[in-house]
Each structure stands twice: as structure tokens, then as C-alpha cells.
């Protein structure tokens, strides 16, 4: 079963990108079988969302980059594990490595990510360039899953 798993914290500036994409995706029908999840800040707890999942699209924000709002399409191999993976929360890099270590075959993973402008703790709201990237990200994901335009 294919899943779209959106990560992020809408209280922390552009880290809320995944949640914004989730909201848009959940407002319109998806093709049969596709399910969309708001994983929030889950680390290892999100392992459950990849169970019995042959194909997954992960949505997340990247640390501030040269071109805020630029969408990047990555694979699991592009995302390195965090240098310090340990902690109850973990991170998406840790999670991706954990998926590879599960007994069952890992899902095919695509990552849709945006370069952030500003990730600040407890400052809700996306920056203008990242907010503008939400609709293109949704369109990109819908094209991946054969959903057409919303």
C-alpha cells in the first residue's frame, strides 16, 4: 500500500512545510490505495507508517539553503543519517536507516523537500517563499501518484 508521510512542526516556522502539504493533500481525493499521514515530529514512532508499504513519498523541509522555497526531489540515499542519531525522537535520517534495517523489504522512498528560509522555534507560519512552494509540491506529488491536478 503506498503512503505519503509528511513530517514537520508547524510551530517552528518553515519546519511546518510538511504539515501544510498534508493539509492540502488531505482536502482532495487521492487515487485508490494512496493514504496520506501527518507524522509531525515522529522519529522511530513513524516506523509504523511504513509497515506493509511498498512505496512511500516523504515530505519534509530542509535546513535554510541558497534558494528558499526551491523544491528538491531526493531519494533515501541522498539523505544522510544524522551525525548523532540517538535520542528518543530521532530524525528522518535515522528513520530511513531504520527502515532499511527492518526484517521486511524497505519501501521505495521518494522525498519531496523544500529549502527553508527560516526555521525558528515557536514561531508559527511559513515564510513567503516556502508558503509559495506548497502548491507546486502538492502538484508534484499528485503527478507522482497519477492524481492529476486538484
Amino acid at each position: 500500500m503506498p503512503h505519503i508521510v509528511c513530517f514537520g512542526n508547524p510551530l517552528h516556522g518553515d519546519d511546518g512545510f510538511g504539515a501544510a502539504v498534508y493539509t492540502r493533500l488531505s482536502e482532495t481525493p487521492l487515487p485508490d490505495g494512496w493514504r496520506v499521514f501527518d507524522a509531525g515530529t515522529s522519529g522511530l514512532n513513524a516506523l509504523w507508517l511504513f509497515r506493509d508499504c511498498g512505496e512511500a513519498i516523504i515530505v519534509d523541509s530542509l535546513a535554510p539553503g541558497a534558494e528558499p522555497g526551491r523544491l528538491r526531489e531526493l531519494t533515501a540515499g541522498d539523505v544522510l543519517a544524522e551525525a548523532a542519531p540517538v535520542g528518543h525522537g530521532g530524525g528522518v535520517g535515522y528513520l530511513l536507516q531504520a527502515l532499511q534495517a527492518m526484517p521486511e523489504p524497505p519501501p521505495r522512498v521518494r522525498i519531496v523537500a523544500v529549502e527553508s528560509a527560516d526555521v525558528s522555534a515557536f514561531r508559527p507560519g511559513l515564510s513567503a517563499p516556502v508558503a509559495a512552494a506548497v502548491a507546486p509540491a502538492v502538484a508534484l506529488i499528485r503527478s507522482y501518484i497519477g492524481a492529476g491536478d486538484d
Binding site: 512542526n9 517552528h12 519546519d15 515530529t41 515522529s42 522519529g43 522511530l44 514512532n45 516506523l47 509504523w48 509497515r51 519534509d60 523541509s61 530542509l62 535546513a63 539553503g65 528538491r72 531526493l74 541522498d78 539523505v79 544522510l80 543519517a81 544524522e82 551525525a83 548523532a84 542519531p85 540517538v86 535520542g87 528518543h88 525522537g89 530524525g91 528522518v92 535520517g93 530511513l96 536507516q97 531504520a98 532499511q100 534495517a101 527492518m102 526484517p103 523537500a113 529549502e115 527553508s116 526555521v119 522555534a121
Partner: protein, 509 residues
């Protein structure tokens, strides 16, 4: 957020805990636990419907949401004097056990044990074994722990629909009964966990392991090939070779609220536990009956509006008052029991609860980093036994109610508290209801006990005490700090800062 090739960081925005340490000649002479994140649930709950606590408080933590839910519902039931059917308590206990096993296995084999792969230990005789078993994602035990801990929390999903952050416990019971399908599913899961625990973690049948009742017996057992080759046996050999059994005693006083509400005797005053709680007085070695009225919280060194001395949670307040540049240094309060600094966790739970092996190990070597971690793994055996017992009892009483909804006029104004042994130790919620809404809500978490700052008398908290005297061989790689802090199962991602001669080292666990 994660790190990608372009030096982008994919870590989540967090970093809730720091330790500020002072060293002299490589020895920690002073430690301060700095909680860098204000929690705020106490304010969020004020003015809300009492039942909102069942939805909000499980969000305090993504690891122990079931424990917070359980504690919140007990506090409401205590305030409203609501009876609870035995089957509801059985289901609650089963779910709490699943969450606890998840935590204890991850804490031990994903977070604590990988430190034994530190490059400094390369010449130790057990290093290759530690690499083979505990290396992240490639070590056998590491990989299998990932799989088994994902599996065990399915138990909570069967009754609560999801894990974490579920809200299926309500005053008077739980929302879903135990039917044959759920019982079969949960039995299967716990059977898988037990088989894995016996084969991989302890290398012995559960009964044989639980029958061990002396330090000498365990040390003899540790030499047996099956246990020596097991995951816990390897942890013990590594830890003891490094001297963790002589490290980081901290305060000798301990507190446990008692494990697992007794389904058959869960009525006022709501204190019957299957494993007894209490206060272990480290000065006398005596265990006293727990009196929650003796719990208080100090804010003398915390960023809250000042008040003098300590206050019981029903009289306490949580009004943030950030005071940078002062001698206040944390968003954590300082909980005390009868104004004594105490520690809590599996070691306290089993020592106070009467486990003979833990009691003898404590009598032989005192509190230490290895024993804290050892107790965490041993507790799983009790949890598995209790889970099987509860599931058996549920099957025997399948037709009995899982909830008795309280009458609307039962939801009265008043005060209540809930006390639970969560994975990390004693968790308490206290609330006061006035005019039908929450007037006051106070949460004292296990980590608040352990990671508390100094109190009104200047007494450092348990972690702060346990770190003083610790030798750090290489401040650029202070793995000793990692052993000590992780033996306490810190609740949040922990970043240790060591301050010495103006240079700042950052240690990421």
C-alpha cells in the same frame, strides 16, 4: 529535518536538555541540569473541561503518552470518586506494559548500549561483540530491537486505535472491550516479545531468570555461556569492565508509586498496586509507605515566578518567569519528597517493590549506572508476566463491563490526583476542578524528579549529584557522561555542554 549532501540538517527542531558541567583536573566538580524548553501544559489546561486532560496530556510525551493518559484518567476518577470495572484496569495495565517494554528495550539497546562501541574501547575484549550486536542498523540486537519495539506497541493500537497520543481511557473505564480477536492479537504479540526476550536478551527461560535472588548468584550466572552471549549479558560485561558499577550513585533516596493498579481492588483510596510503591530512605535503608502529601516542588533555581520553600502540587503554581543572568538556570522545577532529593525509575521500582536480586545487588554495590540499566531490563520480565496474567484474566471475564459511565452529576468540583509508574519512573498528575472547569493542573514527571535543579536549600538534584566526582578522560569525547546520563533514561534529546576554561565542548548523545 535531516542532513543531506548539501549540509542541510534534517534533525527536528528540539534540544530540550543540556548539562552544564564544571571540571577540575578532569573530574566533574559541579553539574547543572538545564531544561531549555518550557512545557506549558499546566497553563493550556486551565479553564478547560476536565475531560480535555485526556486529550491534551498524552501529548506531553511521544514515548509515554499512555502513561500520561492513565495518570490523567486516574486523577479525574479520584476527583469524581468514579468506580472502575476490573476489566478496564486490566486493559489499561496491558497497554501501559506494552508502552513500557517499548521504551525499556529502545533505551537499553538503541541508546545505552551503542556507547560501548566508542573508539576508546577498541582494545577491550568485548569490543567486537559490542560492534556485532549494538552497531546502529547493522548490529543484530539493534536491528531486532527496532522490529520488536515497533511490534509491541501494536497492543496499544488494538485498544486505543493508535499509539502514541491515544485517548481511549475515560472516567469509568476504556472505550473498547477485550474481545476474542483483540486478546488473540495481544497474546500473539506478547508471546513474540517473550520468546525474543528469553532467546536474545537474557539467554534463559523467564522463570529461571526471575528466580535469581542474589548478587553472587547473578555473577555466577553471568559467566554461563548462554547468558554471557545474550544482549543483557554483553551489556553487563561491558559496563562492569568499564567500572559503571562504581559510578554515579546519586541520591540514595528513592520513590516509587507502585506498579500496576490492582484490577480486583481498585476502589477508594485507589492505592492498591500489584507491586508495592513507597519511599526508600537511603539513610536508614527502610521503606516507608508512600504519602503523596509529602511531595512538593521548589522553584528557587527555576525560571518560574518565585515562591518560598516547596509547595505541594495542589498549592503549587507554574507561572513562567524567565530570568536570564540570575542564578536560576532551568525550566524544570525541583520536586522533593519530604524535602529530600530522590531518584525514580526501574531501580527504585524494583528495589521498593521487593525484587530480591535488585535488592541484593544494591546492598552489595550501592546505586550505580550499571544497576539502573540492569534494573530496566529486568523489569521487562515482570511486565511480561503481568501482561500474560492480565490477558488470561480478561479471557476469563470476557463478558464483564469495560466501562461504567459516570452519571453526569458525578462530575463534581473537587481535587484529585493520579499516580503511575511510567517507563522512567514516578509520574503524577494533580488537578483541581472548580465551576466545572480545570482551575489547576500540575504534572510531575519522572525526569523532573531525576533531572531536577537545586532546591530552596541549595541541594542539587539527582543527576546533578550523580555526575559530581565523575572522571572524564577526554573532554572532547566525554563518553563517561553518556553512560551516566543514559543510564537514567533521559526523556528528551540530551545535549551535554561542558564548560571549562572558557572552552565549550558539545557532546551529542
Amino acid at each position: 529535518m535531516a542532513r543531506v549532501e548539501l549540509n542541510v540538517n534534517l534533525n527536528r527542531v528540539e534540544g530540550d536538555l543540556e548539562l552544564a558541567l564544571s571540571l577540575e583536573d578532569g573530574v566533574v566538580v559541579e553539574a547543572r541540569t538545564v531544561g531549555t524548553l518550557y512545557r506549558g501544559f499546566e497553563q493550556i489546561l486551565v479553564g478547560r473541561s476536565p475531560r480535555d486532560a485526556l486529550v491534551l496530556t498524552p501529548r506531553v510525551c511521544g514515548i509515554c503518552g499512555t502513561a500520561h493518559l492513565y495518570t490523567a484518567v486516574l486523577a479525574l476518577e479520584h476527583a469524581w470518586r468514579v468506580p472502575v470495572p476490573a476489566n478496564a484496569t486490566r486493559i489499561r495495565n496491558v497497554c501501559l506494559i506494552a508502552e513500557g517494554i517499548q521504551n525499556d528495550l529502545r533505551q537499553t539497546f538503541l541508546f545505552f548500549a551503542p556507547d560501548f562501541r566508542n573508539a576508546r574501547y577498541r582494545d577491550r575484549p568485548w569490543f567486537a561483540a559490542a560492534e556485532a550486536e549494538f552497531a546502529p542498523f547493522s548490529g543484530r540486537v539493534h536491528r531486532e530491537t527496532l522490529a520488536i519495539t515497533r511490534r509491541v506497541v501494536e497492543v496499544v493500537a488494538h485498544f486505543g486505535g493508535q499509539w502514541p497520543h491515544s485517548s481511549y481511557m475515560v472516567p469509568g473505564g476504556v472505550t473498547s472491550p477485550a474481545d476474542a480477536r483483540r486478546l488473540l492479537a495481544c497474546r500473539t504479540i506478547f508471546a513474540e516479545v517473550r520468546e525474543w526476550y528469553e532467546r536474545i536478551v537474557i539467554g534463559a527461560p523467564l522463570d529461571e531468570w526471575l528466580a535469581l535472588d542474589s548478587a553472587a548468584g547473578y555473577f555466577e550466572w553471568l559467566e554461563r555461556p548462554a547468558h554471557a552471549a545474550s544482549a543483557l549479558g554483553l551489556v553487563s560485561r561491558c559496563a562492569r569492565d568499564l567500572g559503571l558499577q562504581r559510578m554515579a550513585a546519586g541520591t540514595p533516596h528513592m520513590i516509587s508509586f507502585g506498579a500496576w493498579c490492582d484490577p480486583a481492588n481498585w476502589d477508594a483510596p485507589h492505592s492498591a498496586r500489584l507491586m508495592p510503591g513507597g519511599f526508600y530512605d537511603g539513610d536508614t535503608g527502610c521503606i516507608a509507605e508512600l504519602d503523596q502529601a509529602l511531595i512538593n516542588e521548589h522553584v528557587r533555581h527555576s525560571w518560574f515566578r518565585p515562591y518560598s520553600g516547596g509547595r505541594h502540587p495542589w498549592q503549587g503554581e507554574t507561572i513562567p518567569d524567565y530570568q536570564p543572568g540570575s542564578d536560576r538556570y532551568t525550566w524544570a522545577k525541583a520536586p522533593r519528597y519530604a524535602d529530600k532529593v530522590v531518584q525514580t525509575g526501574p531501580l527504585a521500582e524494583l528495589l521498593i517493590g521487593g525484587d530480591a536480586l535488585i535488592a541484593d545487588l544494591y546492598a552489595t554495590e550501592g546505586g550505580n549506572a550499571w544497576l539502573r540499566q540492569f534494573a530496566r531490563v529486568r523489569r521487562i520480565a515482570y511486565e511480561l508476566v503481568q501482561a500474560e496474567r492480565h490477558l488470561h484474566e480478561l479471557a476469563e471475564h470476557l463478558g464483564e463491563p469495560h466501562i461504567v459511565n459516570p452519571a453526569k452529576n458525578a462530575e463534581i468540583d473537587g481535587e484529585g490526583y493520579g499516580l503511575i509508574m511510567a517507563a522512567r519512573g514516578a509520574l503524577g498528575h494533580w488537578l483541581r476542578i472548580r465551576d466545572g472547569v480545570i482551575e489547576k493542573y500540575q504534572i510531575v514527571t519522572p525526569t523532573a524528579w531525576n533531572a531536577s535543579p537545586r532546591d530552596s536549600a541549595g541541594l542539587p538534584g539527582h543527576w546533578e549529584q550523580s555526575l559530581v566526582g565523575l572522571s572524564v578522560a577526554d573532554p572532547d569525547d566525554p563518553v563517561e557522561i553518556g553512560h551516566v546520563i543514559r543510564s537514567h533514561d533521559p526523556c528528551l534529546v540530551c545535549t551535554v555542554h561542558m564548560l571549562e576554561t572558557g572552552k565549550r565542548w558539545r557532546f551529542l548523545p
